[in-house]
Symmetry: C2
Subunit: 231 residues, 2 copies
DNA sequence: CAGATACGCTACGACCAGTAGCGAAAGAGC
DNA sequence: GCTCTTTCGCTACTGGTCGTAGCGTATCTG
């Protein structure tokens, strides 16, 4: 806090507050209107791709900024003009993968959850996510700014999926329609942590595979009494 | 693999294959019978304590071997004579905390689970575990030896707790006694990943607290139909 | 006492994150 | 076309870390 009073006044595209990785020209997004030479959007893409590639090959610990720059055909200083640190670069590189997640309405809550779990597990078996995800979470535990970025770009989009699934189920009449919204929101939180945490733990900590059969049993556990478990 | 054929023949206490951190003299453990000057058990303890302390203060990224050595009043080289790397040292430092977990029989499966979840959550709010656990899991994803050590010293003891809880419940007649042991083992695996993963995710990723109320709701979700969730 | 081993110390090699300063390139606005 | 602004690539550098080597000394066993 208490920013030193310096107001550099010479940061056209602020070094940390990143411009969106492009693709925004036709989006109606405000596109910042810089005056000088614009940043190369191609470089952005090349850097993110190179990051994922290096991550998959070398893991979090093996990835170096110099290596990424070389793979992307770009100077190392260019990386630091766009991302404030290695961690934040990796967040962005990984986040795009999680954008592919979606919650399609398959007619029942159980089917919806099974589909999203399967897709999520698939993402977590990619070598790049496997190498990066836990390292990012760990890094974020000591860096509030990084934590915020992780939440925004990786965690929140997943949570929205659970919320969406819940809304679909409610629309289908699978759930009590008179539920107190506050309570419902809390439940979404519990279920989100349960789904994401369990799949991550099984794949990344226990190191056991997530098969269709496992998904079915886990989802059943989530939605009702585990057959034969009690009584 | 394919170890270079060198057979140093001068490793009395092998540098990686650690001697148990002591406390074993009266345990009937075989106590290795070295011939020269024995390792200082006090140093072992001092190092592990210093590691936890540094972890709590500086986090995983901030912890350095030099600093730990200084806190422990020991030369840095001594650390490396006992642990092959920073990661493995931290595993041992953290593992001792998880030894405190236990599954006391409180008369019902729900009560047992609630107790163990509460205790687990308590451990995960310690700054030292908070700083180390995810970092270790991340590190382990690229290092099989470390992964093995983590499983042995941290994950497996937790899993045993779930198994124990299940046995207690079965003894109390809360569960089907004729259950196929193979299926039962798989179920223990699912439930273990669910409990550990969910609590970790909530505390370390979502960053939300684990209250008594949350524990009750989560356990209820685990054991039966979430009240009012479906239908 | 002799042999074996652990210990502390100092120094070192290799590597990496992140920064500094420059000249050159590439757009924007006129 | 010209100027102004900003980015880009390059090279070099700082500061810090892991992990190792070599030595003399301390401590234990037989």
């Amino acid at each position: 806090m208490a920013p030193t009073t310096r107001q550099p006044a010479e940061q056209p595209h602020p070094p940390d507050d990143r411009t969106p990785p492009d693709g925004a020209v036709a989006d109606g997004a405000v596109a910042v209107r810089g005056k000088g030479r614009p940043r190369s959007a191609a470089a952005d893409q090349a850097i993110l791709d190179a990051t994922r590639e290096a991550l998959a090959e070398l893991g979090w610990g093996g990835l170096t900024m110099g290596d990424v720059a070389q793979r992307a055909g770009v100077a190392k200083t260019t990386l630091y003009r766009r991302w404030p640190s290695k961690s934040e670069l990796v967040v962005d590189a990984i986040a795009s993968l999680f954008d592919q997640l979606e919650c399609t309405d398959r007619g029942s809550l159980q089917a919806d959850i099974e589909a999203v779990v399967a897709r999520f597990a698939e993402l977590l078996t990619l070598p790049e996510t496997q190498a990066a995800l836990l390292a990012l979470f760990a890094e974020g535990s000591r860096d509030p700014q990084l934590r915020r970025r992780i939440r925004e770009r990786i965690v929140q989009p997943q949570k929205v999926l659970v919320e969406l699934g819940r809304a679909n189920a409610q629309a289908r009449g699978e759930m009590d329609p008179d539920r107190d919204p506050a309570v419902a929101a809390e439940e979404v939180g519990i279920i989100f942590d349960t789904i994401a945490g369990t799949v991550e733990h099984r794949l990344l900590v226990s190191g056991e595979p997530v098969t269709a059969d496992w998904i079915r049993r886990f989802t059943t556990l989530l939605l009702g009494p585990f057959p034969g478990l009690l009584r």
